[in-house]
Amino acid sequence: MWTFGRKIAAGFALAFLLLLGIGGVAYRSITSLRNTSQLIAHTYIVLEHVTGVLSLLKDAETGQRGYVITGDEAFLEPYQTGIAGVPAVIKDLRQLTTDNPHQQKRIDEAEPLIAAKLAELKLTIDLRRKNNLEETTKIVRGGDGKKIMDDLRRILDQMDREERELLKQRVDEVEAVASGAKSTIIFGTGFCLLFVTAAGFFITRSLSGQIGAAVQHVQSSSAELQSAANQQASGAKESSTAMTEINTTISELMATSRQIAESAQRVAHVAEETSSAARAGDHTVQKTQESVSGIKRQVDLIVMHMLDLGKKSQQIGGILEIINELAEQTNILAINATIEAFGAGDAGKRFAVVADEIRKLADRVGGSTKEIRVLIEEIRAAVNTTVMATEGGSKAVDLGARQFAEVTAALKQITELLGTTTEAAREIELSTKQQATAVAQVNEAVSDVAKASKETEVSANQTLQTAGQLAGLSRELTRLIQAPANG
């Protein structure tokens, strides 16, 4: 899209070109007119000289006649003036007609005649002075002088006609050039007026449209600017409020930082004490680990003895099986003895009593072996339980030993970490102090920001006023643009 300046410049440039063309045409016409006018003046001068030559010759002839007739020298004054002026006039005439060969030729023809005429006049005058009137009259009556004058008149008349022809041609040229210049000026001026009017109309229309759009844009922008300024003002108020709250929070933060520094100091102190206690605990744990190793050895010994006891119990069980078998066989034998005693009748009754006693003893042995078997089973179960419990204890002791080793390592690590903690607590203390200083600086910065927020609020209000003024200005511009269109 073309800018305002470009459009206006283009309009003025076209108008300038048109005016320049019209001026050029006018200049060329005026120059032609001036040249033609000069030529016309030149023609008039030539005509004047032609007429002057004839007039001077007439004056000389008039003086010659008066003197010849009167003999009075006073009548020779025109003659003197004529013969004095003719050469100069001829010379000027030759110079004035240097561009016209016809006229030069005629001048060449006229000059001998003029010289002859002047010679005839001088001869007559000289004769008259000598009082030779007859000779003088004879010469005059001879008619040579008249013939020369007639030839001169013819030649000068030819020159006059030609010059007048030239004058007519040049007048016609002047009229033609003047007519062309007039037409050019009239039509060019009319066209220029039409073009300037059209260009002014279109430029005005285009500029009104563009400026109107720009003004509408300015109105919209000013409205947005007002809105933004309102938001900025409210934001600045909120920022100011928030800065006040931040200021309060920072004050609390400073107090908290001081408390943290004090706590970090106490932590460092406690960490040092804990480190000492951990080192003492490390020694205790090492002793406990040695005791646990002793317990483990004792538990292994117990397990070995208990396994031996289990084997012995199994052996006792085997022997008891033998005893039980013997008791059963004894019982069977006693019963068979009893049967045999019954078969023996009275003689066997006493034997039957003994056999019954033997059988009872065998029964009791069998009962006792059952009890012993129960006891052995209980012993074996107890041994198994004890072995399992002892193995569990051994595993627990192993686990305890490993855990003690881990505890020892953990205590060492705790001691190291406590050292690190002490250093960290000191660093925290130092950092917290630095933080407190930084927070104070932040507090100052926040105060500055609060001031800046207030200044921003004022600036936003000023922006709001400026936006209002801009809106008014845009409305005024709209009115200025739309007034001609509406009017």
């Binding site: 009275d346 006493r350 003893l361 006792s368």
Partner: protein
């Protein structure tokens, strides 16, 4: 588990009982007033056998089976240097089958001893004669049980060994007759 003191008192009681037995004067009267029985179980049921009706008791003897038309005959076993025919007491008593292996034997008869096999031997009983009761003979299913005995809160049928021997003889005779026919 028995305590050591209880075991010691039991041992002392046994010792005293043995000493007391040896201390009192010998008397056969006590023997005559009681019935000596073997308490057994046949297919889980309690039975008793009179000691006076048998000639011996054995256990875990190898019984060699051989083909026979008598279904109650289990085979023969070597006892005291002789061959003894072994019959299933449970089969003779009418049980269809014995639940467990019959590892016990009682010997019956003197001329041609036979063995009656059963599964469980519980012990030796001495029961007063007053605890032995006669049974009703009308029940054919218990034809070989003529008495019952009450011992240790339990009533046991007393198997009549002579009847069993007689039954075996009849079966053998029947088998022989059927073979001859």
């Amino acid at each position: 588990m028995s305590e050591p003191s209880a075991i010691a008192s039991t041992a002392a009681e046994l010792r005293n009982a043995f000493d007391r037995t040896r201390a009192i004067p010998f008397s056969t009267q006590a023997v005559e007033q009681v019935e000596s029985l073997l308490s057994i179980r046949v297919s889980g049921d309690p039975y008793a056998i009179r000691v006076g009706e048998i000639s011996g008791l054995a256990s875990d003897r190898k019984v060699v089976a051989f083909p026979s038309s008598i279904p109650e005959l289990l085979g023969v076993a070597g006892i005291r240097g002789g061959l003894v025919s072994v019959y299933s007491l449970a089969a003779l008593l009418g049980y269809t089958r014995e639940a467990d292996q019959a590892r016990w034997l009682v010997l019956c008869g003197t001329e041609e001893p036979v063995g009656l096999a059963f599964s469980d031997f519980e012990g030796y009983l001495r029961v007063p004669l007053t605890h032995v009761y006669a049974t009703d003979q009308g029940n054919a299913a218990h034809a070989h049980v003529k008495h019952v005995v009450r011992a240790a809160e339990l009533v046991r049928a007393v198997v009549s060994i002579p009847d069993m021997v007689e039954l075996i003889k009849r079966r053998c005779e029947k088998s022989r007759v059927s073979k001859e026919q």
